[in-house]
C-alpha cells in the first residue's frame, strides 16, 4: 500500500526522503564498484517487467477476489539487493508520477517501506539464510514466502509509524496496527506464493539466470550490519534536526508526543532556545491563529454547562469567522478558475 502525501507531515517526508536517498546513493556506489555494466540495462528491463506484470490481475485462490503482483522480492532475487533496490525505487517513481500512487514527497517513505525492507533486511537476513546454492525446492519456497511475509509486515508497520508521527489521522496506534498487519499478512502470503511459483518457473526454464543472480553478480554478500547501523544513525540525525526545526510549529511530532505522554503541553524551559524561537515565531508568523482549530487548544472542561462552554471554549471559532472562511474560499476558487478561463480565451483569440 502506498503512503500518500495527504497523510504525511513535511518532517516525516523529508526524513524518509533523506534515508531513501542515502540508500540509493549507497546502492549505486556498490553497483559501480562491481563494474557489471550489463546489469544496468537489465535493471531497466526488469523494472518495466514488474511494472507490466503489476497490471495483470489474477484470481486469488479460495477467495474469488482479484489481486496483482508487487514484485519486490523477485527483483531482489534476480538482481541482488543493490540492483533490486534501485529498480524497485524506479518503479515507485514511475507510479508516483504517472498514477499519482503515493506522491512525490511520500516517495521517500514508499521506497523505504517497500524497497528498503525487502532488499536490505528480508532478502539478506531471511532469504539468503534459508536458500543456498542447490537448495531443495521446498526450502526455496519456504525461504521466499518467509522473506516476503516479513518484508510486507515491516512495510505495513512503517506506514503506521509514519502516519502516527505525521499526525494527520486520528487513528490510535493500536487500532491502526490491528487494521494494517492482518490485511498485510494476507497480502504477503499471496505475494509470497506468486513469488515462489515464479522463481520456480524461472529455475525450471532458465536456471542460468538464477545462478547468475546468486554467484556472478558481486555485492550479493552485503555487509548488512554496517549498512543498517549507518543508515539508522543517519535517519536519527536527519529526523532530529528536521523535527527541531519543525517543532517551532505545532506539528505532527509534537502531536504524537502529546498523545503518548498524555500531557497537553510539555513544560518548556524558561530560558534557552525554545522560548527565543517562540518569540521569533510570534513576531514573524502571521498564521498561528487563523485556522479552524489551534492544535494547542486548552483541555475541555467537562463540568461546565454546554452553552457557556460553547461561548467560552477557546477552541471554538465564532460562526462569523466560519462563514467568512467559506465565502472567501469559494471566491478564491472562482477567481482561480476565472484566471484560467481568461488565459484560455486569450490563447484562442491569438491563434
Amino acid at each position: 500500500m502506498h503512503m500518500a502525501d495527504a497523510l504525511i507531515s513535511p518532517t516525516v517526508g523529508a526524513t524518509f526522503a533523506a534515508v531513501s536517498g542515502a540508500a540509493v546513493i549507497y546502492s549505486a556506489r556498490k553497483l559501480k564498484e562491481s563494474a557489471n555494466e550489463k546489469i544496468v540495462p537489465l535493471m531497466g528491463v526488469m523494472g518495466a517487467f514488474v511494472f507490466a506484470a503489476q497490471m495483470i490481475n489474477f484470481t486469488i485462490p479460495g477467495t474469488g477476489s482479484s489481486g496483482h503482483l508487487g514484485g519486490g522480492m523477485i527483483l531482489a532475487i534476480l538482481l541482488g539487493p543493490h540492483g533490486g533496490f534501485l529498480t524497485l525505487a524506479s518503479v515507485l517513481i514511475v507510479q508516483a508520477l504517472f498514477f499519482g500512487d503515493g506522491g512525490l514527497l511520500a516517495l521517500g517513505c514508499n521506497i523505504f517501506n517497500m524497497a528498503f525492507w525487502t532488499c536490505f533486511v528480508a532478502y539478506p537476513l531471511i532469504y539468503r539464510n534459508i536458500v543456498r546454492q542447490g537448495s531443495r525446492p521446498a526450502a526455496m519456497t519456504l525461504g521466499i514466502i518467509g522473506a516476503v511475509l516479513v518484508a510486507i509486515q515491516l512495510g505495513a508497520f512503517s506506514v503506521v509509524i509514519q502516519t502516527l508521527l505525521s499526525g494527520r489521522s486520528d487513528l490510535p496506534f493500536l487500532s491502526f496496527v490491528l487494521l494494517m498487519q492482518p490485511i498485510h499478512l494476507a497480502i504477503g502470503l499471496v505475494e509470497g506464493l506468486v513469488t515462489a511459483a515464479f522463481i520456480a518457473f524461472v529455475k525450471k526454464v532458465r536456471p542460468e539466470i538464477l545462478e547468475a543472480g546468486t554467484t556472478s553478480i558481486p555485492g550479493t554478500q552485503v555487509p548488512i550490519r554496517k549498512a543498517l547501523v549507518g543508515l539508522s544513525i543517519f535517519a536519527l540525525v536527519t529526523g532530529g534536526i528536521l523535527s527541531w526545526f519543525a517543532s517551532r510549529h505545532p506539528d505532527g511530532l509534537e502531536w504524537s508526543i502529546k498523545k503518548i505522554t498524555g500531557a497537553t503541553e510539555i513544560s518548556e524551559p524558561i530560558d534557552g532556545v525554545i522560548p527565543m524561537l517562540g518569540s521569533i515565531q510570534k513576531k514573524t508568523a502571521l498564521f498561528p491563529d487563523y485556522e479552524f482549530k489551534d492544535t494547542k487548544a486548552p483541555p475541555k472542561e467537562e463540568n461546565q454547562i454546554e452553552q457557556t462552554q460553547i461561548d467560552q471554549n477557546a477552541s471554538m471559532i465564532s460562526p462569523g469567522t466560519t462563514v467568512a472562511g467559506v465565502v472567501g474560499s469559494l471566491m478564491t476558487l472562482v477567481l482561480a478558475c476565472f484566471i484560467g478561463f481568461a488565459i484560455k480565451r486569450r490563447k484562442r483569440r491569438a491563434s
Binding site: 497490471m55 484470481t59 512525490l104 524461472v202
Partner: protein, 270 residues
C-alpha cells in the same frame, strides 16, 4: 474496454501530452521539479485542521494546467481513479474526533470532518501537482533534471531504460491478457496457476527482447551514456518562474488569503 486497456491508454496520453510545446513545457525541467516539490511541501506543512488556507493553493495547478493547455477533464479522471489509501485512512477521523469546533447555519461541524476534508484537499492538490509535472515535463526531461541535480548516474540511466521498456512490455502484457480473455470469456481473471505461467512467459520474452536490444545498442556504440541533442540551459526566464512561484507559495502559506477575502466581502455587504 478493460481496466488494463484504459491504464495503458492513459499512460500513452500522459506521455504524448508531455511533448507539447507551450510556455510551461519550454521551462527547464529542474525549475519545474523544484517548484512542484516546494508546492507539495507548502501544502503538506499546513496544520491538521487547515481548510481555508489550502484553497488558494488551487491557483497553482489550475494556472499551470491552462497555460500548458492540459485537458482538465482527463487530469480530473486520473485523480478520481488513483488508489485512495489516504481517503481510506482519513475517513476514520470523523468517527474518532467528535469535538464540535464550529457552526455553519444549523450544522455543528466536528474537528474530525474538518481534518478529513483537509486530507481530501491535500490529496487533490498533491496528486494533481505530480500529474501536472509529468504532463508538462516528460519523463526523459525529469531524468535529465535528476542527472543535473547529481542523482547517481547508474540510477538515472536505468530509469531511462525502464521508461523506454514500459510501453513495449505493457503492450506485450496487454496482448497476453486479451488473448486469455478471448479464450475464456466466463473467467474474468486468470487462475493462480495460469497467472504464474503468463508471468513466466512475459519474463522470458522480456529477457530475449532485452538481449536483442542491448546487442543492437552496443553495435551502435552504446557505452552506458545517454546523450541528447537538446541542450539544457537554465535561463533567466526559468529563474523568474522559480522565484515567482516560490514567492506566491510563501505569500499563500503565510497569510490566509481566502479568509481575508471572505472577511472583506462580508464587511462590504454589511
Amino acid at each position: 474496454m478493460t481496466a488494463f486497456d484504459s491504464t495503458f491508454l492513459d499512460l500513452g496520453r500522459l506521455d504524448s501530452l508531455s511533448y507539447n510545446n507551450t510556455i510551461i513545457h519550454r521551462i527547464d525541467p529542474r525549475a519545474k521539479l523544484i517548484v512542484t516539490v516546494v508546492f507539495i511541501m507548502a501544502v503538506v506543512s499546513f496544520p491538521k485542521y487547515a481548510l481555508t488556507g489550502l484553497i488558494p493553493f488551487f491557483t497553482f495547478p489550475i494556472l499551470i494546467a491552462y497555460l500548458a493547455e492540459l485537458p482538465i477533464g482527463f487530469l480530473f479522471r486520473k485523480l478520481v481513479i488513483v488508489s485512495p489509501f489516504a481517503l481510506f485512512i482519513g475517513i476514520f477521523n470523523p468517527f474518532l474526533d467528535r469535538e464540535v469546533i464550529t457552526r455553519l447555519g444549523f450544522m455543528n461541524i466536528t474537528g474530525g470532518w474538518i481534518s478529513f476534508a483537509s486530507v481530501i484537499l491535500r490529496f487533490i492538490l498533491t496528486v494533481s501537482a505530480a500529474l501536472i509535472l509529468i504532463a508538462t515535463t516528460s519523463f526523459p526531461g525529469i531524468c535529465n533534471a535528476l542527472d543535473r541535480l547529481k542523482v547517481p548516474r547508474i540510477f538515472v540511466i536505468q530509469l531511462m531504460f525502464l521508461y523506454r521498456f514500459i510501453f513495449v512490455l505493457t503492450e506485450e502484457a496487454l496482448r497476453m491478457v486479451r488473448a486469455r480473455r478471448i479464450r475464456a470469456v466466463d473467467q474474468k481473471h486468470p487462475s493462480f496457476k495460469l497467472f504464474v505461467q503468463m508471468l513466466g512467459l512475459l519474463f522470458i520474452r522480456t529477457l530475449d527482447r532485452a538481449e536483442r536490444i542491448y546487442l543492437a545498442m552496443q553495435s551502435r556504440g552504446f557505452d552506458g551514456e545517454v546523450r541528447t541533442l537538446k541542450k539544457l540551459s537554465f535561463t533567466f526566464g526559468d529563474l523568474a518562474f522559480v522565484c515567482l512561484f516560490l514567492l506566491l507559495f510563501a505569500i499563500l502559506r503565510l497569510t490566509n488569503s481566502s479568509q481575508l477575502l471572505g472577511n472583506l466581502l462580508l464587511k462590504a455587504f454589511q
